[in-house]
């Protein structure tokens, strides 16, 4: 079976037949098509079920009573919608949500604002050492966080930034290697003539960046913003390290994990409700912006 784009299966049988394409395929070929289609869809449906079932169970359990969530029952009975109200009394979900939003939005703004000029310098302006600098930026992605975390922690202690969101937000304004990489790769696909034409017109680099590059690269910038937002929303290790002593500033990740640890006598139903609320915003964001997300990921992996 071939892999032609569009997924049209080409069986060996038709290739050895006359090169002239017959309009009607033989009954045998049609049956083969049907079988392979059924097989494909079965596998795909099976896999989809495996990927989606965990979420289904999470939602189902989030509607159970506490007693039932401790059993092996799969379907909630009775359905306890009030879990979604009670979770707000057990844990300050709105406070955690607010902190997460503040962190995610501000850090995203910071990353976009700082990474665009850097990517521009590395991708549009021709200068000696440009490639070396770009490799250096990429190299920072390979450095394990642990190598820098101890001194950084001490710096933030001295600055009294610990137990606030500052250590998470402020570094975002100094560029992010991954975003720079994505943007630079995209910038380089912008036709050189556009940039040259603007230069000839006497525009300085700043103007070119804004009017030519940014306007054209909107999809890439949106993708970068989405990725950064998602990364911040999911972030756990650094928020844990920097804010664990101050519950008022916990993000949803930290708050939920502490809830799991602190709630002796596991309240599965409420925990699942909290998890659902935690993942819902980003899943919805993804559904609304699917194309941007997927295009963005493709940009990273395929363009070596």
């Amino acid at each position: 079976m071939g892999l032609l784009p569009g997924g049209v299966p080409v069986s060996g049988a038709t290739v050895s037949a006359p090169i002239v394409r017959t309009r009607r395929r033989s009954a045998e070929a049609r049956r083969k098509d049907l079988l392979s289609s059924v097989a494909t869809h079965s596998v795909a449906i099976g896999l989809s079920a495996m990927f989606l079932l965990p979420l289904v169970f999470v939602v189902l359990t989030s509607l159970m009573t506490q007693h039932q969530s401790l059993t092996s029952d799969l379907i909630p009975h009775p359905i306890q919608w009030s879990n979604y109200r009670d979770i707000f009394n057990e844990q300050p979900m709105l406070l955690y949500g607010k902190n997460t939003v503040i962190y995610s939005v501000l850090a995203t703004v910071g990353v976009v604002l700082s990474s665009v000029p850097v990517a521009y310098a590395l991708g549009v302006i021709e200068w000696r050492g440009q490639r070396a600098a770009f490799l250096l930026v990429i190299a920072t992605m390979m450095l394990p966080t642990q190598v820098t975390v101890v001194p950084l922690y001490l710096i933030f202690v001295k600055l009294h930034w610990i137990d606030s969101l500052k250590p998470l937000i402020i570094p975002a304004f100094f560029g992010d290697a991954f975003s720079i990489f994505l943007l630079r790769q995209f910038f380089r696909t912008i036709p050189g003539e556009l940039v040259d034409a603007a230069r000839v017109d006497g525009a300085n680099e700043l103007q070119i960046m804004w009017h030519v590059v940014v306007k054209t690269a909107k999809p890439a910038i949106v993708a970068v913003a989405l990725f950064q937002f998602l990364y911040c929303w999911n972030d756990f290790f650094l928020p844990l390290l920097y804010t664990v002593n101050n519950p008022r500033i916990w993000t949803l990740s930290v708050g939920l994990q502490q809830f799991t640890g602190a709630h002796r006598g596991v309240l599965w139903n409420l925990q699942m409700a909290a998890s659902v609320l935690f993942m819902l915003p980003v899943i919805i964001l993804f559904l609304l912006a699917q194309k941007a997300f997927i295009e963005g990921i493709t940009l990273t992996g395929v363009k070596g």
Binding site: L70, W81, Y84, R85, F88, N89, E90, Q91, P92, M93, L94, L95, Y153, V157, H160, I162, D163, V244, N245, N246, P247, R248, Q258, G261, A262, H263, R264, G265, V266, L277, L280, P281, I284, L287, L288
Partner: protein, 464 residues
């Protein structure tokens, strides 16, 4: 999934969340697992000044309490606030010793910390993380030895530095299900480890498929509070010799205890006893079930349990449907003198060295640790053992036969907490890991393993 339905669902949930008054009853951003004494009717910060013109102060205190115990502690803090109305208290629960060390190190320490146990007292005292309370005691003219029993002041100090005070203690003993005892024809609770084994064998019930239905006694060190047996109180084990070196290899009672455990598992639960016990534990709900209504003894799936005095409170609050009694825990066959004693050791309170309101915190600490009324109230509602001589005499506490046993255990001169050193609970953790490996059959040569463990513990002091 269509975009529209996604948006509708999310809007619906948001609406539901907003309209049902989320955010806690006080509404002022008070996070649950926090209570504010003096902040419920009067917002902290707008508290009235004291009678001698003391400025209003808000103390920020931490504790390890959660759930029911947390809420009950808050009522005692209310009493303190009534006595000292210019001091309001913000109390955060679910804090561990690691949290307080981190906080002291990053300069964000609270004014007072209530730790669940004395494991890290030596570390707090010797590193200067906590203030030396001797200065406050002297200034107030208090002689600690007349108020607090000696074993308690021993586990709250290190090398002459009294950096914490005891507030309530735990005592560990035997809980047993009297209905099951009657049914099995056992008239007396076991007094030696051999009797424990015999009784456990009689009380254990298996399912038709061979798995455990009711466990006579759970010997795994990671199971609930069975850990306590491996701390050595009932077998006379010493953690450190007189030279301060780890005694796990040199003291023969440890090897004997571990060997006894292996034989116990085989005799009572069969050759695959370890696996069966692991499955039984997982079926109960794992470590998390200890604090829930699914707790094994409360649900009648354990005939006997080694547990602390607080289990009484949990049993009555959870309204567990069992008939039970308490007694001192059995001791090693060769150590009859030890019978009646047990592991003790409890909450310790200290004031971090960089606390912002240390003097006000001392008032609260003094109240909680040394005031008889406060101690008795705490002991009554939390069903822990009080730690002052006066409070131990309280008639109401002594009227509950289940609880009286633990008061007596606390008073027994052989009772103690393990020796504490500046490496804190590292030695407990390493010992616990070792016993866990032994149970799983991963230690082929017991004596060599114990020797390796002792060396490892001694080396940990190098890292400090």
């Amino acid at each position: 999934m269509k975009r529209w339905s996604a948006m509708l669902v999310s809007l619906g949930l948001l609406a539901a969340a907003c309209s049902s008054g989320g955010g806690g009853s006080a509404g002022s951003g008070v996070t649950p697992a926090q209570c504010t004494a003096g902040g419920l009717t009067v917002a902290s910060g707008s508290v009235s000044p004291g009678p001698s013109g003391e400025a209003p102060v808000t103390l920020n205190i931490w504790s390890f309490y959660t759930g029911r115990e947390f809420k009950q502690y808050c009522s005692v803090l209310q009493d303190f606030h009534a006595k000292y109305p210019w001091i309001s208290i913000q109390h955060t629960g679910a804090k561990t010793d690691q949290d307080i060390v981190r906080a002291v190190n990053s300069g964000t320490a609270p004014d007072m910390m209530i730790s669940a146990g004395p494991d890290n007292v030596a570390k707090f005292c010797s590193s200067g993380a906590y203030k030396d309370l001797n200065q406050y005691l002297k200034a107030d003219g208090i002689d600690l030895s007349t108020i607090v029993p000696e074993p308690a002041s021993r586990y709250t100090s290190y090398n002459g530095v009294q950096c914490t005070l005891p507030v309530l203690s735990d005592a560990y003993g035997l809980y047993y299900n009297t209905a099951m005892f009657k049914k099995a024809g056992i008239t007396e609770p076991p007094k030696t480890l051999s009797q424990l084994e015999t009784d456990a064998k009689k009380l254990t019930v298996f399912n038709p498929d061979g798995s455990i239905k009711v466990a006579g006694w759970m010997p795994l060190q990671g199971f609930y509070e069975s850990t306590a047996l491996y701390n050595g109180n009932w077998t006379g084990g010493k953690w450190y010799d007189d030279a301060g070196k780890s005694a796990f290899a040199s003291d023969p009672s440890w090897a004997a205890l571990l060997q006894w455990q292996k034989d116990f598992i085989t005799n009572v639960y069969g050759t695959d006893g370890y696996t069966k016990l692991e499955q039984f534990f997982a079926k109960l709900g794992g470590p998390n079930s200890e604090w829930s209504t699914a707790q094994g003894f409360e649900t009648g799936q354990l005939a006997m349990a080694l547990d602390g005095e607080w289990r009484n409170a949990f049993i009555s609050d959870d309204k567990a449907d069992i008939k039970y009694a308490t007694a001192p825990f059995p001791v090693a066959d060769g150590q009859p003198d030890l019978y009646g004693s047990g592991q003790i050791g409890g909450d310790v309170i200290g004031i971090p060295s960089n606390a912002k309101n240390a003097d006000a915190a001392w008032l609260l600490l003094k109240y909680l640790a040394l005031d008889t009324q406060a101690e008795v109230k705490l002991a009554t509602i939390l069903k822990n053992v009080p730690t002052t001589f006066e409070s131990l005499k309280d008639p109401t506490l002594n009227s509950d036969p289940h609880f009286k046993v633990f008061m007596q255990i606390f008073g027994n001169p052989h009772s103690s907490f393990k020796q504490i050193t500046p490496i804190g609970d590292t030695d407990s953790n390493l010992w616990g890991s070792f016993v866990g490996k032994w149970e799983a059959g991963q230690v082929p040569d017991l004596n060599a393993g114990l020797q390796g463990l002792a060396t490892q513990i001694d080396q940990q002091s190098q890292l400090g």
